[in-house]
Symmetry: C2
DNA sequence: GTAGTACCGTAACGTACGGTACGGCATTCG
DNA sequence: CGAATGCCGTACCGTACGTTACGGTACTAC
C-alpha cells in the first residue's frame, strides 16, 4: 500500500524536485528508448530511494512530470477586450502557432507517447492528465475568445465546442498522429507560422460573419507546396 | 541472428496463421493491458515456438498483425467517372465515415497504441507501417478523387496534399488523440454519419468552386450539441 | 559533541516477459 | 510398419526493470 508523498500533499515541487523533473524531461527529449527509474536517478544525481519517497512510484513521477511540463507551457491568456477582426485573427494565429509548436516539440511527443502507452491499462490516469493539460486546457483557454468574438459579431456559430474542435482539426490536421508514430516531420518556424495563418483563414472562412470572402484560405495561403 | 520466416518469404499468411493473427486482434480489442507472446499462444492455441518460427519475433508478429488488419479494412475504390457535385459529396462523406469508424474501433486504437509505444525506439518500423497502411494509404486513395473533382471543376485547389490534409483535419479533429489517450469517446453510427456530413460540408465550403454557399457547414449541420 | 534528518550511491530482490528447448502426439510419406 | 515432419503444451533461461534495503555522508538542532 502506498503512502502519501511530498507531491501529493498539494504543494508544488521544491526546487530540487523541479531539477529532478527537468532531468526526466531531458531524458524524454533525448529520445531515450525506455524511461527507467535508474536512468532518471542517474541523470538527476539522486538516489532511487529519494525518487520513490518523493513521487511514490513510477506513475507518480510521470504524473508530476506531465504537470511540470504543462506549467511551463501555459501561455498567457488573450485579451478579449477591444476585439476586432484584426486582433481576432492575430489571437487565433498565435494560439495555433503556439499549439503547433508545443505538439511538435520532442518533449511533448515523448510525453504523449508515454501517456498513450499507459492508457492501455486502466490502472493509470496519465492519459487523462495529458488530455486535461493539453487538448482540454487549450479548449478552455480558447473558448472565451471564440465566444467574445461571437458577441462582437465577428464570427457566428451555435456550439462553442464544435467550433473549437473544427479549429483544432484545421490546425493540427495529421501532425500529431504522424509525429507520435515516428514520422520524421520537421516544422520550421516559418511552416508553423504559415500553417497557423492557413488554419485561421480557413476557420474564419467557415465561421466568419458574412463579409469574409468565400474563397479565402483556399488560394494565396498555400503558395508553397508542402514537403 | 534471425532467420527468414514464412511470412517474410512474401507469401501471405496461411489460414492457420490468419487464425493466429485474428487471435492477436481479439486480444487487442479486448483491451488487454500488455500483449505478451504467451497470451497470444494461449489464445491462439498454438505454441510459442510456432509463433517464433512463423513470425520471427514479437515485432514480426505485430507487423504481420498490422498488415492483416489493414487488409481487412481496405475499402473499395471510389468511381471517379460520372462525377458531379452530388456524387462527390457522397464519396467524401463515405470516405470520412469509413475513416472515423476505423480510427474509433477498439482494434485500431489498440494497434495504434502499440505502434506509438514502439516508435520511441528507432529499432522498430511499426509506426511507419501503421502510417503507411493508415494515414498515407487513405491519402493515396482519396487524392485521385480530389483531383478528378478538380478536373471536373467541382472544387479548386493548388496542392492536392494540402487539400487532403485539410479534409483529414476536418474529419478527425481531436478524435484520434483523445481515444489514444484513453478518453471515453463513444461514436455512434449517427454521430459518425453526422461528423462525416459536417466535415464534407466544411471542406466543400473551403474548396468548392464558387457556387457553394458561404455559410454551409456552419449552421444546419450542428443542431445537436455534442457531448 | 551527539542525535536526528535528508539524501546519495549501490546492491539486492522479485517478477514479468521475450525467447529457447524438449517431450509428446498426430499426420504424412515411403 | 517405421521415419520424418509439424505443431502443441510446458518447462526453462536470461535479462530488464520496478521497487526496496542499506551503508555512508553532509548538515542542522540542541
Amino acid at each position: 500500500m502506498r503512502v502519501a508523498t511530498d507531491i501529493e500533499a498539494g504543494n508544488g515541487p521544491s526546487p530540487r524536485q523541479e531539477e529532478v523533473l527537468d532531468a526526466v524531461l531531458d531524458l524524454l527529449a533525448e529520445g531515450i528508448d525506455a524511461l527507467t527509474m535508474s536512468a532518471v536517478a542517474q541523470r538527476a544525481s539522486c538516489s532511487k530511494e529519494t525518487l520513490y519517497k518523493w513521487f511514490g512510484d513510477r506513475e507518480g513521477l510521470l504524473t508530476a512530470t506531465v504537470r511540470w511540463q504543462a506549467s511551463k507551457v501555459r501561455a498567457g491568456s488573450y485579451d478579449a477586450a477591444r476585439l476586432d477582426a484584426s486582433s481576432l485573427q492575430g489571437s487565433l494565429e498565435a494560439f495555433a502557432a503556439n499549439w503547433l509548436k508545443v505538439i511538435s516539440s520532442r518533449t511533448s511527443i515523448a510525453l504523449n507517447r508515454v501517456a498513450v502507452s499507459h492508457a492501455q491499462s486502466g490502472r493509470s490516469n496519465l492519459g487523462g492528465i495529458v488530455l486535461a493539460n493539453g487538448r482540454f486546457a487549450i479548449g478552455e483557454r480558447l473558448k472565451p475568445l471564440l465566444e467574445a468574438a461571437r458577441e462582437a459579431r465577428l464570427i457566428a456559430f451555435e456550439d462553442t465546442e464544435t467550433a473549437f474542435r473544427t479549429f483544432f482539426g484545421l490546425v493540427g490536421r495529421d501532425v500529431q498522429i504522424r509525429l507520435l508514430l515516428g514520422d520524421k516531420l520537421r516544422l520550421s518556424e516559418a511552416e508553423v507560422a504559415g500553417d497557423a495563418r492557413r488554419a485561421t483563414q480557413q476557420f474564419l472562412t467557415l465561421y466568419g460573419a458574412g463579409k469574409a470572402p468565400a474563397t479565402a484560405g483556399r488560394m494565396k495561403i498555400n503558395h508553397r507546396k508542402e514537403t
